[in-house]
C-alpha cells in the first residue's frame, strides 16, 4: 500500500508492505551439474510473456542455447530452462544479459552451494510450474542428461533433446520460503 501526501511543494510517499510469516517447504532443482557446469535456469516474475519470449529468442541465438523450455510458475511468473551445459562465466553472462529477477541473480552468491534453483513442485496454494511450450533451436553444445530426464519425468510432453552428456546425477533441494505462498 502506498500513501501519497502533498505538503507545500513536496510529495511524501509512504510505502507499506505486509509480509507473510507463514513458511512452506518447497522442492526444487539445482542448475549445477555434477561436473561443475550449469544449465540455463532463469526465473521471471511480473513479466509479460511476449517480452520474455523475444528476449529468450535473442539470447538463444546469441549464445547457442538450443531448446528453451518455458514454464508458467504463477500468474505473471515464468521459468525458462535449457539443458545446455554452460561454464560458470557463460551462465552468469547470459543471466546478467537477461531481465530475470534481481533476487534470482543475486541470492546464490550468498549460499555455500553456489547454484541456482527453480521450483519443481507446489508452493503453498500455488501449483507446480506448468509447461507452456518450447522455443526450438539446434545447439552444438552438450546437454545435461540428468536435468533433461528429470524434467521429462515431470513433464513428459516436453520436446526430445539430443547430445546428452551421459551423466545421471543431479542435485535437488528442499527449502523453506515465505514469499508469495498464496500468490
Amino acid at each position: 500500500m502506498r500513501i501519497k501526501i502533498d505538503i507545500f511543494k513536496k510529495t511524501v510517499l509512504l510505502n507499506f508492505a505486509v509480509l507473510s510469516r507463514k513458511t512452506t517447504d518447497v522442492i526444487g532443482v539445482h542448475n549445477k551439474t555434477i561436473d561443475g557446469k550449469f544449465c540455463l535456469f532463469l526465473d521471471y516474475d511480473k513479466t509479460e510473456e511476449q517480452f520474455l519470449k523475444s528476449e529468450l529468442e535473442h539470447l538463444q541465438m546469441l549464445y547457442d542455447l538450443g531448446n528453451i523450455y518455458i514454464f508458467k510458475s504463477s500468474e505473471k511468473g515464468f521459468h525458462a530452462v535449457s539443458f545446455v551445459k554452460l561454464k560458470a562465466h557463460e551462465f552468469m553472462e547470459i543471466m546478467q544479459n537477461s531481465t530475470c529477477d534481481w533476487a534470482f541473480k543475486q541470492i546464490p552468491r550468498f549460499t555455500t552451494f553456489r547454484s541456482w534453483i527453480l521450483r519443481s513442485f507446489e508452493k503453498g496454494d500455488t501449483e507446480r510450474p506448468k509447461y507452456l511450450y518450447t522455443l526450438k533451436r539446434e545447439s552444438s553444445r552438450e546437454l545435461s542428461e540428468a536435468h533433461y530426464r528429470y524434467f521429462k519425468k515431470l513433464y513428459p510432453e516436453i520436446e526430445e533433446d539430443k547430445r546428452l552428456d551421459g551423466i545421471k546425477d543431479l542435485f535437488l533441494i528442499k527449502y523453506k520460503t515465505r514469499t508469495n505462498i498464496n500468490a
Binding site: A146, Y150, L154, L172, K176
Partner: protein
Amino acid sequence: MPDTDWDEVWKERISKKFDVEDIEEQTDLKKFLDDKLEDTATITRWGQSHQVTVKPQLLENIIYAKGYQELQKVMETRLRSSRSLNKLQQEVALDSKAEKLVGIKIVKALQEEGKQQRALNFELLENIRSARKIDDLDKIRKRVEENRELLGRSTDSLLRIADSKQETF
C-alpha cells in the same frame, strides 16, 4: 545463550544428490523426494558448517527456540522420541552451553535405560572434548582408570582420545 540472529543461521537448505534413474522409477515423485530430503541438513553458524541429521521440523524448532527454556523443552521432546540417543550429539549444532545441556541429557537418558557403560563412556568423551587444560585431562584419565571394569574395551580408546586431545594444547 549468546544473542544470535536465528534467521541468519538458517542460511543453508537441504540438498541431496539423486540418480535420475531412481527418479524415473517413482510413481509418486513428490512424496519420494519429500521423504529423501527430510533427513539431512547443513546449518551454518559463525562461519562454520555443521552437518546435522535431523528432521527439518526439529531443526527449525531448535533454531527458532526463543531463549534457553524453550530450547530445553525442544530437546526434552527430542530425547523422549529419539531412538538412537548416541546420535543426538551429531544432531545438534548449537553453542557450547546448549551442547553441554544435550550431553547431560543424553547421559541421564542412557542411565535411565540402564545403559551405564554407554552413559559413562559418553560422559567421559564429552569431558575430554570440553577439557581446556592438562589438569582436566588428568582428572578424566583417573576416572577412566577407576572405571576400567565398567568401561571394558572403551578404556584404552578413551585414554588414546585424551592423549590426542592433549596434543592440541
